[in-house]
């Protein structure tokens, strides 16, 4: 007798989210099945990888991932154009890390100028991230949300401490937002509820359950993402049906395994190859657990994941 693969049917569906505009807009989410289970239902959109750039030169990045951007990363506009034109980025994530009080402490005006310049230079959708300083982000993201009005960007990250200000600014200027909680599915749901209760469209939220790198707690992120997807699909939980974000590059390149020189640890193998693999492996795990949007850094890791997606969809 021929083997018939068992099929699950799900009662819920992930919201599909479109960012950007014109012929460069991109859509992710929209599936009513677990990741890459298109044979059980529909998964109309492939996961999107946004390439990460910064408002200030990436002095704190690992050498391996600094290198491919050496010629362009001195200026966010050049960097963004390089990602769009040379690396064929489908979206760009601009992290305003230079606004952090412990870094360059750039002002909202500085951030606005960077955002406007980048928006003028590229056509692909823009994800605008703060420096993950809850207080400073509130003022920075309000200013840049207004500067990017109607450009249909993603603004983030809104957290428990600052979601009201950021969601209000995103709502007033027609953007999507990233809602980030700290590796706790119940708090993730709670934040989505609180943001929705402000009148913010729940279908314009992207959920970030907080990323972690391979070897440094990725199993927690994996598990929370997986459970969020199951709640969305099997329990039809409308507060958990937002697409999920994997903010991979920032976490993967921070860890020792992605950076340690081969000279110090010869048994770990080539530094460059190892770092790229670390980012790609981290991304792959989150993709499988349900991420619809990934933020990544190294062109080769991105290529690898694009190829993986090609093979899985």
């Amino acid at each position: 007798m021929a083997f018939t693969a068992p099929k699950e049917t799900y009662s819920g569906k992930v919201y599909s989210v479109t960012i950007g505009s014109g012929d460069r807009e991109v859509t992710f989410g929209g599936e009513n099945v677990l990741p890459f289970h298109a044979f059980e239902g529909t998964a109309p959109n492939r996961p999107v990888i946004a390439i990460e750039i910064q408002d200030v030169p990436p002095t704190d990045w690992a050498d391996t991932v600094k290198k491919p951007y050496e010629a362009v990363s001195g200026d966010p506009v050049t960097w963004a154009k390089y990602c769009q034109d040379e690396l064929k980025a489908k979206a760009i994530a601009l992290r305003l890390v230079g606004t952090h009080p412990d870094r360059e402490n750039r002002s909202p005006e500085d951030a606005v100028k960077t955002v406007k310049d980048v928006l003028a230079a590229v056509q692909v959708p823009l994800i605008i991230l703060g420096s993950n300083h809850a207080e400073k982000d509130a003022s920075i993201l309000v200013a840049v949300a207004e500067a990017a009005k109607d450009k249909n960007c993603i603004i983030g990250k809104a957290q428990e401490a600052n979601y009201k200000t950021i969601a209000a600014a995103a709502m007033a200027n027609n953007h999507k937002i990233v809602a980030m909680s700290e590796l706790d599915i119940n708090l993730s749901k709670q934040l989505n509820i609180l943001i929705s209760q402000m009148g913010f469209d729940k279908e314009k939220i992207i959920t970030d359950p907080m990323c972690s790198a391979l070897g440094y707690g990725i199993e927690y992120t994996y598990s929370v993402m997986e459970r969020i997807r199951l709640a969305a699909l099997t329990q039809n939980d409308i507060t958990m049906q937002q697409p999920l974000l994997g903010d991979v590059g920032m976490y993967a390149w921070k860890v020792k395994e992605a950076n340690a020189p081969e000279a110090d640890l010869p048994h770990w193998g080539a530094t460059e190859e190892r770092g790229i693999a670390w980012e790609a492996e981290t991304a792959a795990a989150l993709l499988i657990s349900g991420a619809g949007l990934l933020i990544m850094r190294h062109p080769k890791a991105i290529q690898t994941i694009e190829k993986l997606i090609d093979e899985l969809v």
Partner: protein, 285 residues
């Protein structure tokens, strides 16, 4: 259902201060209130009480029993403090209870005390390792504790099995495993084993307004599962009497007149049974 009044706990600031100052006033006031509210036993939780535990437990037992004709549940990890408390306990008001033993060898001497002083003993179904994953694991640990009780001469009718209620805000799945465990425990032995829970932990970490709602629904579900006793807020448990009918009606799929109440009951039951994901605002969705 036997209610063990939970309010005399070192975790509460007012109680802790009274214990430190040996101020009988607040202790006796809270004990009396819990008795009036329907408690059948008064829990005296003095914490680990490594220093002066014996004296403190004796003071608690006599202070409470001076005004309330009820037995005491001696709640500490300090075995010496428990024995000291048992020596002054007035058994005229009923059998004392010990909170608690478990499947951790360090806790086995408690069974010996229980046998020596003819107490009821709470057996927490956890071992030395991590928390039990489900009802079956709890039942397996329960069977080991029962074997150990017999070994130490504690009659099984003196043993109350406690499946360990966990916080719904962080370990939601465990709520239904606990309910299942209460059912399972009764099948391990004939006559059925007695069961007990520390009820209010279900809502620990939840917004204040939600706590009584979750506690009461969990209580009704456990009662339906055949629970024998609960360490709980006696006032809340008295209030359950008014709501039990409504909760049971909704559980049976019946419509009730008050639609808002019905939604509250439905949503709370769904959260406890793991049909919807818990969030602090689950009632508002």
């Amino acid at each position: 259902m036997l209610i063990i009044g939970e309010k005399l706990s070192i975790i509460a600031k007012r109680v802790r201060e009274a214990m430190m100052k040996k101020d009988k006033g607040p202790i006796q006031e809270i004990a009396t209130r819990q008795w009036k509210e329907g408690s059948g036993v008064i829990d005296a939780n003095i914490g680990p009480a490594e220093d002066g535990g014996e004296e403190l437990m004796q003071w608690m037992v006599t202070t409470i029993q001076e005004v309330v004709p009820l037995p005491i549940c001696l709640d500490t990890t300090n075995g010496k403090a428990i024995e000291a408390g048992l020596k002054v306990h007035n058994n005229q008001w009923g059998k004392p209870m010990i909170n608690s033993t478990s499947n951790d060898p360090e806790r086995f001497p408690i069974l010996e005390l229980g046998a020596k002083y003819n107490c009821d003993v709470i057996g927490l179904t956890v071992g030395k390792g991590g928390l039990p994953a489900d009802a079956e694991e709890r039942a397996a640990i329960a069977a080991e504790i029962m074997g150990r009780a017999m070994e130490y001469g504690l009659p099984l009718e003196n043993l109350y099995l406690d499946p360990l209620v966990l916080q719904i805000a962080t370990t939601q799945d465990q709520a239904r495993h606990v309910i299942e465990a209460v059912k399972l425990f009764q099948h391990i032995n004939e006559p059925p084993m007695k069961t007990i829970v520390g009820l209010s932990n279900i809502s620990n970490g939840c917004p204040k307004a939600l706590r009584p709602i979750l506690n009461k629904h969990m209580f009704v579900l456990l009662q339906e599962a055949g629970l024998t006793a609960a360490i709980a807020d006696a006032k809340e448990m008295a209030e359950v009497e008014e709501e039990r009918g409504l909760i049971l009606d909704v559980m049976a799929g019946k419509e009730i007149e008050d639609k808002q109440k019905m939604a509250e009951i439905r949503k709370t039951l769904d959260v406890i049974m793991g049909k919807t994901l818990y969030a602090h605002s689950y009632l508002e969705m």
